[in-house]
């Protein structure tokens, strides 16, 4: 068991290094460097060659690529994500300041998606081929096909602009009714696809489990149907859900980019978009690294959890 965890840890560390390398390589594929962007006419400024050279050396861009890469790895591993080229603020500090808002949004979506998805999945499986099954699977199909950004705008159009029930943008920190009202639409926008995915997964997993011998045995020995479903089938059908929840957490974290930009939710996703629009590479780099690393860590935890839940998983 311990060696399994150790191996997963080493593997995750390796993946994180890979992620950092890929981010570095991608951003250095870009035509021109951040300084070119900053001083280009569309970046809003003109500068003489001396100032450009000075800026280059300040950000280490005059060094050979391999030195830049090693410096970058060293800095990131020491939790230094650099500073924004636009406003000079430390990226890590900003990321940590904005993360709670994104975490709240992601968690709310995941929670509601897990609840609704599991409920519809179980109901669909129990009524396989019937009306409930067809209806919920049709809804699931629509749910995975509807783009986030379209759904978000439609919700805003109906519930804010037409009916005036929900605020169109922003966030209220705290736990009151007001903060909930701000949360509903972004969370719904973000969570619909995940609800649909979980619904489909739980349905097929439930159908598999209902075919198992131990379920038939339980029925045969006279256990009440409800008890068979809840105690024997349902609990085992949920095991694959753990992995998917981990994966979906990451998908939601990056999907938050769109939901946040529509509803002006002051989180990490919006920060990333502002970074992209301003060609602020340290910001883009920092946000991407933070999201990807969080995702790797969540999956590490999920894998370890999974091995506890399903002892059949081999550690070898």
């Amino acid at each position: 068991m311990l060696s399994f965890i150790a191996r997963r840890l080493i593997f995750s560390a390796f993946v994180v290094i890979g992620v950092l390398t890929l981010v570095f390589v991608s951003l250095h594929l870009a035509p021109g460097d951040p300084i070119d962007m900053l001083i280009s006419p569309e970046g809003g400024g003109r500068a003489g060659p001396e100032i450009i050279a000075q800026l280059r050396s300040k950000y280490g861009l005059d060094q050979p690529l391999i030195v830049q890469y090693l410096n970058y790895l060293g800095n990131v591993l020491q939790l230094d994500l650099g500073t924004s080229i636009r406003n000079g603020r430390p990226v890590l500090q900003e990321v940590l300041r904005l993360y709670p808002a994104t975490f709240e949004l992601t968690l709310a979506s995941l929670f509601v998606a897990a609840l609704l998805g599991t409920l519809t999945g179980v109901l669909a499986a129990l009524h396989k081929g019937g009306f409930v099954d067809h209806l919920s699977m049709t809804l699931a199909l629509l749910g995975v096909s509807l783009p986030h950004f379209l759904l978000g705008l439609l919700l805003m159009l109906v519930f804010s602009l037409q009916l005036g029930w929900l605020p169109p943008s922003g966030r209220e920190a705290g736990f009151g009714w007001e903060s909930l009202k701000h949360l509903i639409m972004p969370a719904a926008t973000l969570g619909v696809a995940t609800t649909a995915i979980i619904g489909r997964l739980v349905r097929s997993s439930m159908l598999d489990v209902l075919k198992e011998d131990y379920v038939r045995t339980a029925s045969a020995k006279g256990v009440h149907r409800r008890a068979v479903v809840m105690r024997h089938a349902f609990r085992n059908a949920l095991i694959p859900l753990v992995t998917v929840l981990g994966l979906e957490f990451g998908v939601l974290l990056s999907g938050a980019v769109i939901a946040e930009s529509i509803f002006a939710w002051p989180g990490l996703g919006r920060y990333l978009i502002l970074g992209i629009n301003g060609r602020d590479f340290p910001v883009v780099q920092g946000a991407v690294i933070f999201i990807a690393t969080t995702f790797v860590l969540v999956n590490l935890v999920v894998d370890i959890l999974y091995s506890f839940l399903d002892p059949r998983v081999q550690y070898a």
Partner: protein
């Protein structure tokens, strides 16, 4: 095969989805004939007009005909969808094929690379690449392709592992077939059907991702008529003229829905368990 075909066409929804995809391809091919206006021609006397006989889906904030832009937008979506799935498929399938067939060190190295790609959840890798490469069709194709590489690689590898140890491969090897012939003729062709399902499903996903990139401002540059970009611009005018998001919105929703229905139908039809 005929039984698969029968299963595939049994559901009327599948036929509708096929028709939608056909409509998309026709729009892309014959856009100049189907459009009623020049997609980029502005008309400041007819700004944000509701749908009418003259403008089937109304006009946008600078008086461009939305119907014509949606029709031309099909070109961008089909191009990005086909090219990126083809590119992603080419790389992913090769990686999966090599990793699955040769195993050992090559497998480990290639799959660790895929693991790194998979560490970028959802649309994040596409955003990163599109930002780095700048606006335009080429960067979008590369960004969206990168997003589909890991899925192709994993599905292909799994499929190859299933086929590799089968008797007909052994037999071909025993009969003296060379490695590359073995890979292409015996392993690849037999491992291909799950990959086809994913290619169909990914086509919807690719079109959606490309639109999302444009929506976020890192995709195809304006004034190209691209559905995601159209919806993005429409945000600012949605209060006065809600119809501006409907045209491109319905187009992209139907397209993605159709590919998802087709992917599901293909999976059911090709699944030997049925």
């Amino acid at each position: 095969m005929s039984r698969s075909l029968k299963r595939f066409t049994r559901n009327p929804l599948t036929i509708v989805a096929l028709l939608v995809v056909l409509g998309l391809i026709v729009s892309a091919l014959f856009a100049p004939r189907l459009a009623t206006h020049q997609p980029n021609r502005q008309d400041f006397r007819a700004v944000l007009q509701p749908p009418s006989k003259e403008h089937y889906l109304g006009t946008d904030e600078i008086g461009r005909d939305i119907y014509s832009r949606v029709i031309f937008g099909a070109r961008i979506s089909v191009t990005v969808g086909v090219l990126s799935v083809a590119l992603g498929g080419l790389i992913g399938i090769s990686v999966g094929l090599l990793a699955g067939f040769y195993g050992g060190l090559l497998d480990s190295v290639l799959m660790r690379f895929i693991d790194v790609l998979l560490a970028f959840p959802g649309i994040l890798l596409a955003i990163l690449l599109a930002t780095a490469l700048g606006a335009g069709l080429g960067p979008v194709v590369i960004a969206v392709a990168a997003y589909s590489v890991p899925t192709f690689a994993r599905v292909m590898r799994g499929s190859v592992l299933g086929v590799r140890s089968r008797e007909f491969v052994e037999a071909a090897r025993a009969a003296g077939a060379r490695s590359h012939r073995l890979i292409v003729k015996h392993v690849f062709l037999n491992a291909f059907s799950p990959v086809l399902v994913y290619a169909t499903l990914l086509m919807g996903g690719a079109i959606l991702t490309a639109a999302a990139l444009s929506f976020l401002g890192v995709g195809v540059a304006p004034p190209t008529p691209e559905w995601g970009a159209m919806i993005s611009t429409a945000r600012s005018y949605m209060r006065q003229a809600p119809h501006v998001i409907l045209g491109p919105g319905i187009a992209i929703f139907l397209t993605v829905l159709a590919f998802n229905v087709l992917g599901d139908a293909l999976r059911d039809a090709l699944d030997p368990k049925n």
